[in-house]
């Protein structure tokens, strides 16, 4: 005989996707257990740091007043980094602050607040509990196993991150192809608030997000980032695992190279590393979104492989929010209908793909393949740097028209005109 469930829903992982799912379901009067393996929520979580916040504000309308956010991003800096030069596009816009569009967060501070909202809504938070796998009966998931303990529920929500051992345990995920994964290596560098504001031309709680491509990864596919927090910087590299392995590079050495780069080091001057972390990043986009529903279980957030990287914007946390919202409503309906089978829960995938985030996932389906083009990481930045060098370096040779300069530099560059055309067209289609 099947034992009575302890809860309507067990959510595994108190990150953003798990907390949003738990909050919505608890708010709707369901009994919810929120299980977290860290001693406290957020203690196992690491993100680059930029959260596109509008979606989460729909869940918590007073988010920006109450949650521990770091800074509102009003400045986006795209930097093409070369060994001897850097070319930047510095985009600042007051409209990004009204209404607020993106904020920086530090997860060890932000996630405890989210989990607290879940508890206030009535969810039971169980911290310091590692879930080892799913409990199955007659082929369906009926709960989770943690050491000697079992927790039974009508529905299990796997929100256990990019490595999702739970989704693997339920047979929903296999070994991920390496090109779907990237390794993020990050440090938090403390810097006095006043100095940080001066250095990055910020007032009040405004912040800047740097996206860096080129000579920051020693040729490994990926890029660098630097985000301002209140009184620290989040700085790091994201390295495609297949390329990291193929090139035999050492991840810590690549990280060192980025931090010591002559165009990055001055930004960190006087800072102190207060934390060092790493995290796998889902990079496959829509192609990585696997099965997200089985009998008695749904998969949300990173565990479902939900991220979008367009090169200009890197998104994960807002997709986690969207999946949590979609999962909570589908799980709620399935519980109402008394059908938590795969069919009963199938509304989750439909709702997820129909949401703005899900539609974005489809819009950018070709972005991951586009970003695998090697030229993106050295040749274009170098070409642009060389053209600008000819423009600004008055070396007593007669000036030439810009178009002639560009043509000459293109001839010297490994980039061919047909590459430019191909990559340009692919970029237009993918992004």
């Amino acid at each position: 005989m099947t034992a009575e469930p302890d809860f309507d829903v067990v959510v595994v992982g108190a990150g953003i996707a798990g907390c949003v799912t738990a909050y919505r379901l608890a708010q709707a009067g369901r009994s919810v257990a929120l299980v977290e393996r860290g001693a406290a929520p957020g203690s196992k979580n690491l993100s680059g740091g930029v959260l596109y916040s509008r979606g989460l504000e729909e869940v918590f309308p007073d988010l920006l007043e109450r949650a521990p956010i770091e800074r509102r991003i009003t400045r986006n800096y795209l930097q093409l980094l070369n060994a001897e030069s850097a070319v930047g596009i510095d985009y600042q816009d007051r409209r990004l602050a009204e209404p607020v569009n993106a904020v920086t967060v530090l997860r060890a501070r932000f996630d405890p607040w989210l989990a607290e909202q879940c508890e206030e809504a009535g969810a039971d938070l169980l911290s310091g509990v590692r879930v080892d796998g799913v409990l199955r009966e007659d082929g369906r998931v009926v709960g989770v196993r943690a050491g000697e303990d079992e927790l039974r529920a009508h529905v299990v929500v796997a929100a256990d991150g990019v490595n999702s051992f739970l989704a693997r345990s339920a047979g929903l995920r296999g070994r991920e192809p390496l090109h779907h994964l990237a390794l993020g290596v990050k440090a938090v560098v403390a810097l006095p608030e006043e100095r940080l504001r001066e250095r990055f031309h910020l007032t009040g709680d405004e912040g800047v997000a740097y996206a860096v491509v080129g000579d920051c990864t020693r040729g490994v596919g990926g890029g660098g980032f630097l985000y301002t927090n209140r009184a620290s910087l989040s700085v790091g590299v994201v390295l495609r695992l297949d390329d990291l392995v193929a090139k035999g590079e050492d991840s810590a050495a690549v990280f060192d190279h980025f931090l010591a780069h002559p165009f990055v080091a001055p930004l960190l001057e006087g800072g102190e590393v207060v934390e060092y972390g790493s995290h796998l990043v889902a990079e496959g986009g829509l192609a990585m979104l696997g099965e997200v529903v089985t009998d008695g279980m749904v998969v949300v957030g990173d565990a479902a492989g939900l991220t979008i990287n367009t090169g200009l914007t890197v998104r994960g946390m807002d997709l986690a929010v969207a999946s949590g919202v979609a999962a909570a409503s589908a799980v709620g309906r399935a519980l109402d209908a008394g059908d938590t089978s795969r069919d009963g829960l199938a509304g989750y995938r439909r709702e997820l793909l129909g949401s703005t985030a899900g539609r974005d996932l489809q819009t950018y389906a070709k972005a991951p393949a586009f970003l695998e083009r090697e030229r993106m990481y050295h040749d274009y930045g170098a070409l642009l740097g060389d053209v600008l060098h000819r423009v600004y370096d008055h070396d007593l040779t007669p000036r030439r028209h810009l178009l002639d300069v560009a043509r000459a530099e293109l001839r010297r560059s490994p980039v061919r005109v047909r590459d430019l055309v191909r990559d340009g067209l692919a970029g237009v289609r993918a992004l």
Binding site: R37, G38, A39, A40, G42, S43, K44, N45, L46, S47, V105, L106, R107, A108, R109, F110, S127, G128, R130, D132, A146, V162, N163, F165, R175, E176, L178, L181, L183, G184, V185, A187, V188, V189, S232, L241, L244, V245, G248, E249, D250, S251, A252, F255, D256, L259, A260, A265, L268, E269, G270, E272, V273, V274, E275, Y276, G277, S278, H279, L280
Partner: protein
């Protein structure tokens, strides 16, 4: 900023080390046969893996940042890798 070594950086982190149950095990024989040791050593940003004098792969599990990169790049079967027991392991204070 003065340059920092990996051990310096890790020293700034907060860890609750599980002395009783290491969460990483290497099948040394399989690691040797597949030759994936160098890959583990290079990919891990915390330098958990090292080459011992006898050619085997050393594991300093206490330094682990729990990212899972080693498991993703290891040949199947080489690593037995789980998260540390509940409450143990790295405890991020910033994130």
């Amino acid at each position: 900023m003065r340059t920092t070594s990996v051990p310096d950086r890790l020293a700034a982190n907060s860890y609750v080390t599980d002395e009783e149950q290491p969460h990483i095990r290497v099948d040394q024989e399989l690691a040797r046969r597949t030759g994936c040791g160098d890959r583990l050593i290079a990919v891990c940003p915390a330098k958990v893996y090292s080459r011992e004098a006898d050619g085997t792969i050393g594991v300093e599990h206490a330094a682990c940042l729990e990212c899972g990169a080693c498991l993703a790049v290891a040949d199947p079967g080489v690593l037995e890798w789980t998260y540390p027991r509940g409450g143990f392991g790295v405890a991020f204070r910033e994130g």
